[in-house]
């Protein structure tokens, strides 16, 4: 595995907190230290490491750099400063240096620092208290060992991203590449203006940084250059709408996970695969398997505790007693872990039953994979729409899926009428929800058709044949569907994100199955020098995927499955946020409201023209 993010956090932990072997002779008291963080690194550290871990390594205090004025002067302590090289953080640190509170400083930066900044620090360090300056590259958050997100200052995805945020994004991705020691070729969807800008920014960064020798020699020893695949969420608007059925995704969908913390009944529950083995084993399991697994887990716990429970002590022999006593803290841990997952699972279960998710989920899969014919699906959908128990949001999601699959304005108006019927749908859809229902198709089918995608989700060809009895492209799609997911006979897991196809094309370039998603390629100079220009057609080994607009846990699961089935390929995925359906719908409302202010019909072309003008 050349791409494993947990390994990175481990290695960086050592770098940051384990004293170098040379320093082992130093007396123990000098090892204890204060950790000073800024707002960016705080979340990075808190997601990777626990406080216990820090305490075990003699980090006895954690402070925020912003409060440097109120630090206690403690000349006994070393200070580990871990900051992002932003203007503000560097300035705050410079101020701290003019009046140092601690004995000595080790400065760690989570991204590349430029020469002038380093110069300023050197100038500010009058008292020569800094004894180490190291760039570690982690300007991103590690969610799973194969999933990262980028730490954008404004975490709300705005429809049009500004220039500075593109630079931020590119910097974060650069730090990801550097930490993995990869100098990639960049592939992106040319239809997205944002990606165009992002990719050229990254390319510029790599090429100019190569003067700094940062990107030189990174791919040494690997036969093929890694690929940085930049995708836009808008080309696959469906995946976040589909209700997930695997553990991690479901937690996010029904409870919400923020920086690996889920909040259930005002209790913060940490979900970290490196700390929690049950979670690690079950995070990708589907709901059925999950409950089985959990049952076993509880059984195991019961068995272990019963065997050594206090009542049984008299009859047990001494060895058993001893074993029990030694394991006591472990049992404590086990029981709290069980309780945690019990809370989560029961919460999910409650939601699933309350929202009639079994029924809805099945229909979602049926619509999007066309497992039934148009008429049947339509009647089933109408049945659901007439059911007053089902929430508005779920109905809207179904209608959206239906409209992207079968472009039929008559059907759509029928559905919207039903949705707005107060007797059937209690909180009737808001203005923006109605607007979205109206425009969803226009927004995305145009996006999809420009790339002429004939894939499982976007049935733009199906549009032409929609009214005919035999849906030829549909059949074709179905076949492909079945082939793609022949392993999966679970009705709730029929849908496969579009990412699957894009990756399949990338891994095995094959004329027949070409999905039509053409990717543009940018090759940095360093890569070109190493491999020559004709690398694009060689097989791939490492792919780093970044989905602008947000990634889903479901896609992370797909990535994991793909890399498990093909050992030759290493994949990681990330995005600027992790989406669940409600996040995504909110984003879509904004998008629709935004576009409705301008002229709707000429919108896509107009927008593009405007953006092109911006570019020029």
């Amino acid at each position: 595995m050349t791409l494993n993010l947990s390994k990175i956090s481990e290695a960086y932990f050592k770098k940051l907190f384990l004293p170098k072997s040379l320093d082992s002779s130093v007396s123990p008291e000098s090892k204890s230290s204060v950790l000073v963080l800024d707002q960016f690194t705080t979340s990075i550290i808190s997601m990777c490491y626990t406080q216990t871990q820090l305490l075990q390594n003699n980090v006895i205090l954690v402070e925020l750099l912003d409060n440097y004025r109120s630090f206690n002067k403690m000349k006994h302590l070393n200070c580990i400063v871990y900051i992002k090289p932003t203007k503000e953080s560097i300035q705050a640190f410079i101020n701290e240096l003019s009046n140092p509170h601690f004995k000595s400083y080790q400065l760690f930066l989570n991204n590349t620092i430029n020469k002038t900044q380093l110069e300023r620090l050197a100038e500010a360090d009058e008292f020569e208290v800094i004894n180490q300056v190291v760039e570690v590259f982690q300007d991103y958050l590690i969610i799973n060992s194969n999933l990262f997100t980028i730490n954008l200052p404004s975490n709300s995805p705005t429809p049009s991203s500004s220039n500075s945020s593109i630079v931020e994004e590119s910097n974060s991705l650069i730090s990801l590449l550097l930490s993995l020691k990869k100098c990639p070729i960049i592939k992106y969807e040319p239809s997205s203006i944002d990606l165009k800008r992002l990719s050229s920014e990254i390319l510029y960064n790599i090429n100019s940084n190569s003067n700094n020798n940062l990107f030189d020699d990174l791919n040494k020893g690997s036969d093929r250059p890694p690929i940085l695949l930049l995708l836009d969420r808008k080309t696959d608007p469906i995946t976040p709408l589909i209700s997930p059925w695997t553990y991690q995704s479901m937690i996010h969908e029904y409870i919400g996970v923020k920086k690996n913390i889920a909040e259930v009944a005002n209790e913060q529950l940490i979900l970290d695969e490196t700390q929690d083995t049950f979670f690690k084993e079950s995070m990708y399991l589907n709901y059925g398997d999950l409950t089985d697994k959990f049952q076993n887990y509880v059984e195991y716990y019961k068995k272990e505790t019963k065997q050594t429970s206090i009542e049984n002590l008299q009859t047990q022999n001494l060895n058993e007693l001893k074993k029990m006593l030694t394991k006591f803290p472990e049992f404590k841990k086990l029981s709290s872990n069980i309780l945690k997952h019990l809370n989560i699972i029961s919460e999910i279960d409650k939601e699933v039953n309350n929202q009639n998710m079994w029924e809805i989920g099945e229909l979602q899969q049926t619509i999007i994979c066309e497992l039934d014919n148009h008429q049947n699906i339509k009647s089933r959908l109408i049945e659901i729409l007439d059911n007053s128990k089902i929430t508005t949001i779920n109905k809207i999601k179904l209608v959206l899926l239906f409209s992207i699959r079968f472009h039929n304005t008559n059907d759509l108006s029928l559905f919207t009428a039903k949705l707005n019927d107060i007797t059937k749908t209690n909180p009737s859809p808001t203005v923006s929800q109605n607007a979205l229902l109206k425009k969803f198709n226009a927004l995305f089918s145009s996006k999809i058709s420009t790339t002429s995608v004939a894939n499982t989700n976007a049935n733009n060809l199906g549009n032409i044949f929609a009214n005919k009895t035999i849906n030829i492209p549909g059949l074709f799609n179905n076949n492909r569907n079945n082939r793609n997911q022949s392993k999966n006979d679970n009705i709730y897991l029929q849908y496969v994100p579009k990412l699957n196809e894009i990756l399949a094309d990338l891994i095995t370039p094959n004329q027949e199955t070409n999905s039509g998603t053409t990717l543009s390629t940018l090759v940095p100079d360093v890569v070109a020098n190493q491999y020559g220009r004709s690398i694009q057609y060689e097989p791939v080994q490492d792919i780093i995927i970044y989905i602008k607009g947000g990634v889903t846990y479901e896609e992370a699961r797909l990535i994991r499955e793909l890399s498990a089935s093909n050992k030759k390929i290493n994949l990681i995925i990330g995005g600027d946020s992790i989406l669940n359906s409600s996040n995504w719908l909110n984003y879509l409302y904004d998008l629709v409201n935004d576009s409705s202010t301008t002229d709707v019909i000429s919108d896509p072309t107009e927008e593009r023209r405007k953006q092109l003008r911006d570019l020029l």
Partner: protein, 688 residues
């Protein structure tokens, strides 16, 4: 394809015998150098220049070509009878069907063609080998007929014709214009008997179905499943292929192991970081040098200025005395004095450095624009024009400093005799002032700050109440750290003993000793942790809170305490686990010894011993044998230890206020005490 099959032998035959003479020779030579040592061939492969040397050597074997042509003949006879057996036209190996032959040719002899290096030849097409042969001919011709001819002879040792070894590379083929071909001389031969896949754990018998492929890197034979990897190789200096990921490398098939050994995969995720310390230090050094220079300059000027100002001041005093007498003309003299001072002051930073009022519109430190209200001022030390900012609204650009304040801190400079003599007076005199910018002030006071900064830790600490408290905390903490370190070392040692089972009795004793030491240390640690708690915490409604005097360090103390508790728990757990395994081992050893003894006794004098045994088993309460005493004592020891552990846990839990589990533990302890009592009664006088 299927229609081709009957005519296939013919095509093969054409391939084998009717093609150009040099082709024939080539084939035959291949069939011949059966045991030809690779050493002969390889140099030619790697460096074309050495072909010549082998040429000359080979001239001693002139007539091999003639013999080789005859060797081909049997193959053609084999083809006459296609239904019964098919043999490879090159190496005579018998084949079951044409497909197999085809594959065989691809696998074994395909290196005759240059194109096959980059892409393994396509299977299932019968024509392909032929095509490639023709390519080879052309290539041979291109390179030069004579060369190939001669060199072939050179590598053809006189040998029998029945050979099954894979072909060795041909010298002339090493002449590829760009990429030197990957040597095949290190390939594992396919032996007569069944070969199994070289991957450990695979054990598949290799045949045509499973695949029979040499890894291009290590040369071993593998099944298809384990050779579906591709890597880039080039020829290394050691005559073996080496990894090469650049455009120089050639894509080759390889085995799973060689794939996983590829440098990048072997290293795995790399987690890069870049140490900038050296660069930073260099920059800082140049900065500090510069600053030092500047500081020296400023200091010199300050001395000059002090000397001058004190002198002027003393003269003024005299003047005043005079003026008091004379009275008139004072104003004029003061005015002229002012002017004179200004001139002299200009000279201290040097007239060149004295900034001209004209052309400067902004403060050189805070860049504020000067105006009617915001006047320009000259710093008397550096001569720069700065604004006046005594209250620090901007960057405290400049203030008027009384000399005495600076002199207080800069006592040991080389001032003039006058200043030194009148030191006390000057230091007390606040009336002598001058304007100084913040930069110069910092430069002047740098050394003082630095020494102050360093001394603070020692001297002022005791005086300062806060520092004192801090000192106390850290002193306690440091002693804990030392203890912690000791425990860690002991634990490691103890663990080491567990891993390497002690052989001698002294080792065992040593282990016991360490175990005892460890438990003592842990106890001590626990006690001192309690001390720590008593020192800094106070109980408040069943909860310990940081005592009020240490409120400022609340977080620090809490963290330290938490760390101590965590460490204590962890090491106790570890110790228990280790101890358990130690005891288990001990017991099993004891048991085995007992068993041995018993067996010995039984075999030696079975009659007497068996009766005693029975006696013992029947009436254990009546009288205890030594063995039983020992066992009971052991049990008692275990129980006592158990009790101790539980007690320590109870303490721990009360400390961490986990009362829910406490009750269970207390019950537990009671039970243990009962058992101990029983045991002690049982042992009676033999107890400890």
């Amino acid at each position: 394809m299927s229609s081709d099959i009957p005519s296939n032998p013919k095509s093969k035959r054409v391939l084998g015998s009717v093609s150009k003479p040099e082709e024939l020779q080539l084939d035959s030579s291949e069939s011949n150098h059966q045991i030809s040592n690779d050493k002969d061939i390889l140099p030619i492969v790697t460096s074309p220049t050495r072909v010549n040397t082998t040429d000359s050597e080979s001239s001693s074997v002139p007539d091999t070509s003639a013999t080789s042509t005859t060797n081909v003949l049997p193959t053609s006879t084999a083809f006459d009878n296609p239904k019964h057996s098919i043999a490879c036209p090159i190496c005579n190996e018998e084949m079951v069907n044409l497909h197999q032959l085809n594959q065989h040719i691809d696998d074994m002899h395909s290196n005759d063609s240059n194109t096959s290096i980059e892409s393994p030849p396509k299977r299932n097409t019968i024509i392909s080998p032929k095509k490639k042969k023709i390519n080879l001919d052309l290539l041979d011709n291109n390179i030069g007929f004579s060369l190939s001819d001669v060199s072939e002879r050179s590598v053809t040792p006189p040998a029998s014709s029945s050979s099954h070894r894979p072909t060795s590379p041909h010298p002339n083929q090493s002449h590829h214009p760009h990429k030197p071909r990957i040597s095949r001389s290190h390939w594992q031969h396919q032996s007569q008997s069944s070969t199994i896949c070289s991957l450990t754990g695979c054990n598949k018998t290799l045949n045509i179905k499973n695949g029979l492929t040499n890894c291009r890197k290590c040369g071993l034979l593998y099944c298809n499943e384990h050779t579906e990897y591709k890597i880039k190789l080039k020829m290394g200096s050691e005559k073996l292929p080496v990894y090469d990921s650049t455009s120089e490398g050639v894509w080759c098939k390889c085995c799973q192991r060689c794939y996983n050994d590829k440098p990048d995969l072997k290293e795995g995720t790399m987690a890069w970081s870049k140490d900038l310390t050296a660069e930073f230090n260099r920059k800082r050094q140049t900065r500090t040098d510069e600053n030092q220079l500047n500081r020296n300059k400023i200091q010199k000027r300050f001395i000059k200025l002090t000397n001058y100002l004190t002198e002027v001041e003393s003269q003024e005093k005299k003047h005043k005395k005079k003026n008091q007498v004379s009275g008139g003309g004072a104003a004029i003299s003061i005015l002229s004095d002012w002017w004179a001072i200004d001139e002299a002051e200009k000279e201290i930073p040097g007239l060149d450095n004295w900034q001209d009022d004209q052309g400067i519109s902004n403060c050189s430190i805070c860049y504020i624009k000067f105006s009617l209200l915001l006047r320009k001022h000259h710093c008397r030390l550096c001569g720069k024009i700065v604004c006046d900012d005594p209250y620090g609204y901007r960057k405290s650009c400049s203030i008027v400093v009384p000399i005495s304040k600076l002199l207080e801190r800069l006592t040991n400079l080389n001032y003039s005799q006058y200043v030194k003599l009148n030191w006390d007076e000057v230091v007390k005199d606040d009336s002598i002032k001058f304007r100084c910018c913040v930069d110069c002030k910092n430069a002047l006071l740098y050394d003082w700050k630095l020494s102050h900064h360093h001394h603070k830790g020692e001297a002022e600490e005791v005086e300062d109440g806060d520092e004192k408290k801090q000192h106390k905390i850290f002193k306690a903490y440091e002693s804990k750290l030392i203890q912690k370190h000791q425990i860690e070392v002991l634990l490691n040692k103890y663990e080491q003993f567990q891993k390497v089972e002690p052989q001698t009795i002294t080792d065992e004793e040593e282990e016991m000793k360490i175990g005892n030491k460890l438990i003592n240390q842990l106890k001590e640690f626990e006690n001192s942790t309690a001390q720590f708690r008593n020192m800094f915490f106070m109980p408040q409604q069943e909860i310990y809170v940081v005592s009020s005097e240490y409120q400022a360090y609340k977080r620090l103390i809490n963290n330290i305490y938490q760390m101590l508790i965590i460490f204590l728990q962890d090491s106790l757990l570890k110790y228990k686990l280790l101890n358990e395994s130690f005891k288990e081992r001990q017991e099993s050893k004891l048991r085995s010894i007992q068993l041995q003894k018993r067996q010995q006794q039984q075999s030696n004098n079975s009659s007497t011993n068996s009766t005693t045994d029975v006696e013992l088993d029947d009436s254990p309460q009546v009288k205890l044998t030594k063995k039983q005493i020992r066992e009971l004592r052991e049990q008692l020891m275990v129980m006592n230890e158990q009790k101790f552990l539980i007690e320590s846990m109870i303490k721990e839990y009360t400390k961490s206020r986990r009362f829910d589990e406490l009750q269970a533990l207390i019950d537990n302890k009671k039970d243990l005490e009962n058992v101990i009592n029983d045991l002690e009664i049982k042992l009676g006088e033999f107890g400890f």
